[in-house]
Amino acid sequence: MKRITLIVSIVALLAMIAMLPMSAVQADGHCEFAEDSIKIGGLVPLSAPGAVAGGVAMSWAINRAADDINAACGVSIDGVNHAIEIVIGDSEGSPERGQAVVERFILEDEVHAVTGVYHSAVGLATMGMLDENGIPTVFSEPWNDNVSANGIMEYDGRPPRNADGVDHVFRVSPASSMVGGVVVDWLIDLGVGNVVIIAENTDYGQPAAADELARFEAAGATVTQINVELGTEDFVPILSRIQASADTPDVVRVLVTGETSYNLTQQMAELGIAPSENTICVTNQVAFQSEQYWQNVPDGNYCAFNRVGIIPSLFSDTAVELNAAYFEEFADIVPSYAMASYDAVWIIADGMARAGSSSDGAAIVAAIETTDLDLSQGRYYFEYGNHNPDLPEGTPAFMWHQWPDPVVTMMQYFEQGQSSLDAAVIFPEVYQTHGSGYIAPGTSP
């Protein structure tokens, strides 16, 4: 028994020592802060089955924003500086957990505002609760149209959030219809007629695929949709099937995220399906993280991808700084959801400063509605909200409390190992950097 106790305690001790990296609390000398700080909850996925990599980056960005704001003496309300304190909650990518964490944010941590959210399912499940409790919320990554549309319309049997007053939920990520529109417009401009969409069977892939499919078909293209399970490694049998089909597809569109999308794109390139002379490769926006992309998809040159957020050549100083910091931390280009999460904290802080309160939800919402800020992703403003409640005919419902300008562009690599900061922007035309709408494999602009 003694030996066992010894072994156990040694192992426990070693484990403790291994686990000692501590988070340092920033204490800045030059600012005088009030006793009570402003608490902002960051709801991100940090364990499986959630998208852990996304959650880690978002959590980093949210904390970074708080540090930057505090370094600039926090939020000034009535002439008193309040520091921002971040409370991170792990949604695990599950609606049930998300709800529980939001409940904890509200009742236990008593947060003044909430940001984050990666999975749409979590966003949809939590937004009603946030609204009811009057917590100003700026979501930074869920794409489902209904996240913002539910401000003014009934969804899933639930009444709209602002039916009886203030709607507290904003979004600075794009609605998936905004993204799908750009990709399809670009491809239709190029004159594609035969499209293969490979989509993951999740709450991201399926609605996005359905949306793009409808748009392609409306434009007269024929579409084959193939659903795959996240986590699949070997796509060769499925790709052989595409390769064997009588009419070669004009484009293969990948609506799969994370490491699964890298595997798929790489195998597609190795088999010579796309990018090739006949077939355009449109991969997922995760390709923007170029270090990771080239490591995992060495044959992925000439693949196009959609990019959300300001194009690299127009990066503001904030964006450049944020990117440098991100590169130092994770050795990669900053992804859009990290930028959006960073900006969301600033938007909240700015709203509180202008509202002159950190706890009056309605006043903060009114202030956020009239946001006009230049941050890492560009200029932020909200077109429709209580300040401008009537959506004109033809404006989709998701424009409510939605940042209208997440710049969605198509980008394309044209050199092996190229940084995404140097990749060509090819669509829309106003943003084109290399004067070309599509760079054919083997050529250079």
């Binding site: 192992v11 501590m22 204490a27 409940e103 904890r104």
Partner: protein, 388 residues
């Protein structure tokens, strides 16, 4: 130590350990009944408790199946999912028997009715699977149930049009209480009541003659069969019974009691492995041990998200604060794995075993298994026999 001995003998002469044990159980129950009335506790803690109760049901029923009956199933989560999905599908779509011209509309089924149908569905599938499993032992059984539960999960994920895919499936809410605090209160008592009822049912089975037969079969199936135990019947019975319990618990938990919808990710092997780990840490052969193991582990995993260690004697850390803030992240799961492995190796009957033994005053769990080993001269031969 001396103090403890003295305390021990005082107890033995006075109230008796057993009675004290019952007293402790009553106190624990009273604590849980009182808990929601503690206004200083937030709804979040109640939420953690509610899911703790749910996993306690999962773990303790698994302990009956694996620990007492020796059927090492990895399909427990899948049966829970069958209960929840069946309840949700019935409440949403109803059933149409085109051939019989009979149609049950969703409107005619109450939330509780759909839960009952879900339970029956879980039991029915349990019956078929339990029957198929008769031929399989230990590792083969584990592998087969892994395959079954993975197949089920992939189907739920892929048949998007019917099951909602990864968006999950909403079940019909069981309770319709507008006030959040009151609703949480009722959900708390509902789930706790369910745990108590399930534990009583499980104990009733474990302590009935069936429980004895199951233990006998676990130790030596052929011998039990030779002594006249109907092996087939009891094996299937226990499988159906536990499947129905978890199907019932799952259907209730996901009827907006603990969660508003069930998602296929809940059915991953990883989630199943957590249930097994809880049961192992609490004690696989003790139902209450497994339940307590699940509850405590979940609570600790939750509490360990952020550990604040306040330094004594006015010491400060290098950046001037008086406390270490440690966010273990994934390390807490790694630690959990270490605890599980060492528990298995050195405290086979779970970390709560010494406490349970002390209260019961004898080695309830060990005796049955050890006696068999003592009577068995050729241990190596038995290893061979077990493996086939």
């Amino acid at each position: 130590m001396v103090v403890f001995r003295r305390f021990e003998s005082a107890i033995d002469q006075g109230i008796g350990r057993r009675k004290l044990g019952y007293l402790v159980i009553v106190l624990v129950v009273l604590f849980f009944l009182w808990f929601p009335n503690d206004t200083s506790q937030s709804n979040y803690t109640k939420t953690v408790f509610i899911s703790g109760f749910f996993y306690a049901i999962m773990s303790s029923s698994w302990a009956l199946l694996a620990g007492i009956a020796g059927q090492f199933s990895f399909g427990h989560m899948a049966f829970m999912g069958i209960g929840a999905y069946a309840a949700g599908l019935i409440a949403r779509d109803g059933i149409t028997f085109a051939l019989l011209g009979v149609s049950i509309s969703p409107e005619s089924i109450s939330a509780f009715g759909s839960i009952i149908i879900g339970t029956i569905a879980a039991g029915a599938v349990g019956l078929v699977i339990g029957w198929l499993l008769l031929r399989l032992r230990a590792a083969y059984l584990a592998l087969f149930t892994i395959a079954f539960s993975e197949l089920f999960r992939i189907m739920m994920l892929t048949e998007y049009d019917y099951t909602g895919g990864s968006n999950g499936l909403s079940l019909r809410p069981l309770l319709q209480i507008a006030d959040v605090d009151a609703a949480r209160q009722v959900e708390y008592y509902l789930m706790f009541g369910l745990l108590v009822v399930c534990l009583l049912a499980l104990y009733w089975v474990a302590n009935s003659p069936i429980g004895l037969f199951l233990r006998a079969m676990r130790e030596d199936e052929d011998a039990a069969s030779a002594l006249g135990v109907n092996v087939v019947r009891y094996k299937i019975l226990v499988f159906v019974f536990t499947s129905m319990i978890v199907g019932f618990a799952g259907a209730i938990f996901y009827s907006d009691v603990g969660s508003e919808r069930i998602i296929p990710e809940q059915l991953e092997i990883l989630q199943m492995s957590l249930i097994i780990a809880y049961a192992v840490i609490g004690g696989m052969e003790s139902l209450i041990g497994a339940a307590a193991g699940a509850f405590i582990s979940r609570y600790l995993l939750e509490a360990m998200r952020q550990v604040v260690i306040t330094l004594p004697f006015g010491m400060t850390t290098y950046d001037g604060s008086d406390a270490f803030v440690w966010e273990p992240g994934f390390w807490r799961f790694a630690l959990f794995g270490v605890v599980m492995v060492f528990t298995l190796r050195y405290m086979r009957n779970g970390l709560l075993y010494p406490i349970i033994t002390w209260f019961s005053g004898r080695d309830i769990v060990m005796k049955e298994t050890v006696s068999r080993r003592e009577s068995d001269d050729n241990h190596a031969a038995r290893i061979e026999a077990d493996d086939e």
